[in-house]
């Protein structure tokens, strides 16, 4: 893409469109944000109010009263964080192998990896539960993290990024006498930092928000994640919207912070590319 130069008419159109899309994205989220500060009565009032007449923290207090938030956050963090860290390593290693190394039946094996994405996980849960029972992994963090520690999605994604990198990069590493793993770690992986960040956020949010999987594989309230807590708030028969919205807001924040944090690495990733080119 071109650098920052004089603003063209096309540039103006782009800015207007992208700003409009931003509004469309933000509007429902702002509604969520504002509504979680409304009273029970006002959340469901008709005609709906735009801003709360009285800003109240009642809904957050209700969430706090019903859920052991700190414990659930800790569990979610261990589970989602553990999966993210390990799978970033394993996914990028496997993705690298599929993109840049040679081995027998590579295409076939890659197809096999892709096939694992194609069965709805709802149907895999019961066999997985039984399997983990026999392995003694039920209700442990290891049992939660291991099955998610790599994924076809991540492998495929990293492969698609590694495959684009020019051969010259690899060869310069080879001339420097780096080992195959050294080339991967010191030269190729830094090139894919933006992709790594994106994949990291993807894994984190996927597991952070997942309900069925952690609920099936843990059997005690001690091990419950925040998403299970969110599900506990939504009533069995009658939905109470206030606390549900407040808890939704709480559940989004950590992932958002992670993403904001990760944004910085996009720049650094790009900067390193700039030097190599």
């Amino acid at each position: 893409m071109g650098g920052r130069k004089t603003i063209t008419p096309g540039g103006v159109v782009a800015i207007v469109i992208s700003a409009l899309v931003m509004l469309a994205v933000l509007a429902p989220l702002l509604w969520l944000f504002v509504s979680s500060f409304k009273s029970d009565k006002e959340v469901i009032a008709y005609p709906p109010t735009l801003l709360p007449q009285d800003w109240t923290l009642d809904q957050f207090e209700a969430v706090n009263h019903s859920l052991p938030i700190a414990k659930m956050f800790r569990n979610s963090l261990i589970f989602a964080g553990g999966v993210t860290v390990i799978s970033l390593l394993l996914d990028s290693m496997a993705g690298y192998a599929f993109a840049r190394l040679d081995f027998k039946h590579k295409k076939l094996w890659f197809a096999v990896v892709l096939l694992t994405m194609m069965v709805p996980f709802q149907i895999l849960m019961t066999p997985l539960y039984i399997e983990e029972h026999y392995m003694g992994l039920l209700d442990t963090f290891v049992g939660l993290i291991l099955p998610r520690a790599t994924s076809a999605y991540g492998i495929y994604m990293m492969r698609s990024f590694f495959v684009r990198l020019p051969v010259s990069l690899e060869e310069s590493g080879r001339l420097d006498g780096l080992s195959e793993f050294g080339i991967f770690r010191r030269i190729m992986l830094p090139q894919c930092l933006p992709a790594l960040v994106a994949l990291g956020v993807f894994h984190f949010m996927n597991n952070w928000n997942d309900l069925l999987y952690p609920l099936m594989l843990t059997s005690s309230t001690e091990m419950r994640t925040f998403s299970a807590g969110l599900a506990m708030l939504v009533g069995n028969k009658v939905i109470k919207f206030g606390p549900t919205l407040a808890a939704t807001l709480i559940s989004i924040l950590p992932v958002l912070v992670l993403y904001m944090f990760g944004q910085r690495y996009f720049r650094e990733g790009i900067a390193s590319t700039g030097m190599k080119e």
Binding site: M1, G3, G10, A14, I17, V21, M22, L26, P28, L29, W31, L32, Y46, P48, M93, Y96, A97, A99, L101, D102, F103, K104, W109, L114, M118, V119, P120, I123, L124, M125, P127, L128, E131, P147, Y156, M157, R159, S160, F161, V163, R164, L165, P166, E180, F181, Q191, P194, A195, F202, N209, F241, L245, S251, I252, L256, Y259, Q263, F266, G269, I270
Partner: protein, 313 residues
């Protein structure tokens, strides 16, 4: 995609990346692959094969009274009207949701893939819905879209347009679910595409600019070919995920109105786990059927539709 066939230099770099290498380096590949291979084999492949086995059994979730059913479950599937309905609904969803997300994401990525504050802000904002859980998003949208209580219908009423039952009208329900899915998911694809675009060597673009190519032409002829593997990845994975759509339908419409949003995974869940007698064998056979559909579509996409030159995508 005729424009893409004319691509020059940049794609060549990717194409020549994989050439025959000495035999001694092959065993390195297995070191890289082994951890993932073991985990996938034990925790994904075993349950997957188990569900294939289950599809050939008469078995409920309690796993009592197991008997071999042969192809009975599949014969039942062929005659089940709801499987057909769910198949069409699933394909309809994917046919709308994949292009919608890809086109919007490509368009936005072309506008926001620069390294300045404003573009970073936009990318961050687009990404926010993606990090929210589908459950939460579905609850928010079903309140907003409710024809009687929702803010949106209040607005349309005030404007004299009357209330629109977005999720109540069988003709509108699925497009609405697609729109919400797109709203939630496109920002992630923008991020992926941006990550790829920002890695495109600036020299390529500048050369084209000197040749007098406009921004759109440069995007199509220079940028798209270089980021092609990423585009293919996005299309393929979005397709696979879309064909397994469940959460949003489960919460917002429960498959209705009149079954117009009942997808295959929703029906699998319904038969296997929601409606007694919980028929795990039959649910598994529908899952195998869905697996076959996804595998064929993915194969066709990768082999024929998205293939560019000699590159394996």
């Amino acid at each position: 995609m005729p424009a893409l066939a004319t691509v020059g230099g940049a794609a060549g770099a990717a194409g020549s990346a994989r050439r025959r290498r000495p035999l001694s380096r092959r065993r390195h590949a297995w070191v890289f692959l082994a951890p993932s291979a073991v985990i996938l084999a034990v925790f994904v492949f075993v349950p997957l094969v188990s569900s294939f086995v289950l599809s050939g059994l008469a078995i409920d979730v309690f796993m009592n009274d197991v008997s071999f059913a042969g192809l009975d479950n599949f014969r039942r599937l062929v005659g089940d009207q709801r499987v057909w309905g769910a198949t069409l609904n699933t394909l309809y969803f994917a046919a709308l949701a994949v292009p919608a997300q890809m086109v919007l994401a490509l368009a936005m990525a072309s506008m926001v893939s620069r390294n300045n504050r404003w573009c970073r802000l936009l990318r961050s904002v687009y990404y926010i819905p993606f990090v929210c859980s589908m459950t939460a998003i579905s609850i928010v949208w079903s309140i907003l879209l409710d024809p009687n209580m929702g803010a949106l219908s209040y607005l349309t009423r005030q404007l004299g347009l009357g209330a629109i039952g977005f999720l109540k009208d069988p003709a509108l329900a699925m497009p609405t679910v697609v729109a919400i899915t797109t709203w939630k998911g496109f920002g992630y694809i923008v991020t992926l595409l941006s990550a790829a675009i920002l890695n495109v060597p600036a020299s390529l673009d500048e050369a084209a600019q000197l040749d007098g190519a406009g921004p759109i032409r440069r995007f199509v002829q220079i940028t798209v070919p270089v980021i092609w593997p990423t585009i293919v990845f996005c299309v393929v994975t979005t397709t696979i995920v879309s064909l397994q759509v469940f959460d949003q339908v489960y919460i917002m419409t429960k498959g209705g109105p009149h079954g117009s949003t009942e997808t295959l995974v929703a029906y699998i869940y319904n038969r296997g786990f929601q409606t007694a007698p919980y028929d795990l064998g039959y649910a598994s056979s529908i899952a195998v059927y869905l697996f076959a559909i996804i595998a064929v579509i993915t194969f066709v996409l990768r082999r024929f539709v998205l293939r560019r030159g000699e590159d394996e995508v």
